[in-house]
């Protein structure tokens, strides 16, 4: 009871602070600053029609590399904790609906994920969402089967190769154009084509493979640790 009251007081105080601090804030009508520069010059600078991908992969490519590292360390921590301390056995058997769906859908889901990854510079998408979609197909297969996934050399090697590719593409720009992760070591091409926008499609592929294998590894270790004792 006292906990609820304290929580309510803190939440109300915070909302009062936020509301009072934005009271002189008005709805903007024009873009300013960095965002304006990105929308005006993004296509010329990077060749990517999708400006979000241009920012994520080209302008802020180094941040994305750091983000991949964060995801990698988190998934490593999850796998490490769950393998050091086994907490369960015997996965719960799937219902017949899940088992049946897991026999049909994963192929289509993987295809859709690859589409999202490869069209990241043309339409909403890119490596992170596409990789998550591919990993969801893996999750569906795992939920539909009755077995515990074993150790997979395949997943870990894909993860390593994808991470290495990202770094090497960065160093390629450093060696040829003197800038780490410079996008235009490959020609920008004509914006809107599938093969355009420099190395953005290649980096999207690397990120997609890395995210898919990492999330699959996390799901697999959840599956190994879960279930009834």
């Amino acid at each position: 009871m006292i906990r609820t009251i304290i929580g309510l007081v803190i939440v109300l105080a915070l909302s009062a602070i936020v509301v009072s601090s934005v009271s002189d804030y008005s709805m903007p009508s024009e873009l300013i600053g960095v965002g304006r520069g990105y929308t005006e010059q993004g296509v010329n600078d990077t060749g990517s029609v999708n400006l979000v991908t241009a920012v994520v992969v080209a302008y802020r490519g180094l941040d994305t590399l750091g983000e991949v590292v964060v995801l990698f360390s988190a998934s490593t921590a999850v796998v490490l904790i769950l393998t050091l301390i086994p907490i369960g056995a015997n996965p719960t058997p799937p219902s017949s609906i899940v088992a049946f769906t897991a026999g049909i859908l994963p192929g289509a889901i993987v295809l859709f994920g690859i589409y999202i990854i490869t069209h990241g510079h043309l339409s909403p998408g890119g490596g992170f969402p596409g990789g998550a979609v591919v990993a969801s197909a893996f999750l569906l297969v795992m939920l539909g089967s009755n077995t515990i996934p074993g150790k997979s050399k395949f997943l870990t090697s894909i993860e390593s190769i994808a991470g290495l590719t990202f770094g090497l593409l960065g160093f390629w720009g450093m060696l040829t154009l003197g800038q780490f992760l410079n996008n235009l070591v490959l020609p920008a091409g004509s914006p809107g084509r599938i093969i355009s926008a420099g190395i953005i499609p290649l980096i999207s592929l690397a990120i997609g493979a890395k995210v898919a294998s990492e999330l699959s590894g996390v799901f697999a270790s959840y599956r190994k640790a879960g279930g009834e004792k």
């Binding site: 906990r3 609820t4 304290i6 929580g7 309510l8 803190i10 939440v11 915070l14 909302s15 936020v18 934005v22 709805m27 903007p28 009508s29 024009e30 873009l31 960095v34 965002g35 990105y38 929308t39 993004g42 296509v43 029609v49 999708n50 400006l51 979000v52 241009a54 920012v55 994520v56 802020r60 941040d63 994305t64 983000e67 964060v70 995801l71 988190a74 998934s75 921590a77 999850v78 904790i81 769950l82 301390i85 907490i87 339409s123 909403p124 890119g126 992170f128 998550a132 914006p191 995210v211 999330l215 996390v218 959840y222 640790a225």
Partner: protein
């Protein structure tokens, strides 16, 4: 207040509401998995605030097209993409640690996890 302004501010109120509900859940719930859920709810609200900060009513998504004349700010959307992925990673770790702690103390109730106190 015009319709677009109402839409604009209702987005802000929704986002702030999500953050506050999540914070309230983190402060008051006792089941550690519900705390994790409330945490991800607050995370979603923060992401929505960030996307909202680059949003201009009546403009289209930041994808350059011959028919597009004006678009919203692409930078917050790109940062939120980062934030979502980090949020997933943190939530995955949160759940694992929560499950481990609850197996160790025999219950998901945080009041029974004595070793978390100092």
């Amino acid at each position: 207040m015009t319709a677009s302004a109402m839409f604009y501010w209702s987005l802000a109120v929704t986002a702030l509401g999500l953050v506050l509900i999540g914070l309230w859940g983190v402060l008051t719930r006792k089941n550690i998995l519900r705390i994790a859920l409330a945490f991800t709810l607050a995370d979603t609200g923060v992401n929505l605030i960030l996307v909202w900060s680059g949003f201009l009513p009546g403009r289209s998504a930041p994808i350059v097209d011959s028919s597009v004349t004006s678009m919203v700010d692409p930078l917050p959307q790109a940062l939120v993409l980062t934030s979502i992925v980090i949020g997933v990673a943190v939530a995955a770790l949160f759940v694992v640690v929560g499950v481990l702690a609850s197996r160790k103390s025999g219950s998901a109730d945080i009041r029974r996890m004595k070793e978390l106190r100092w």
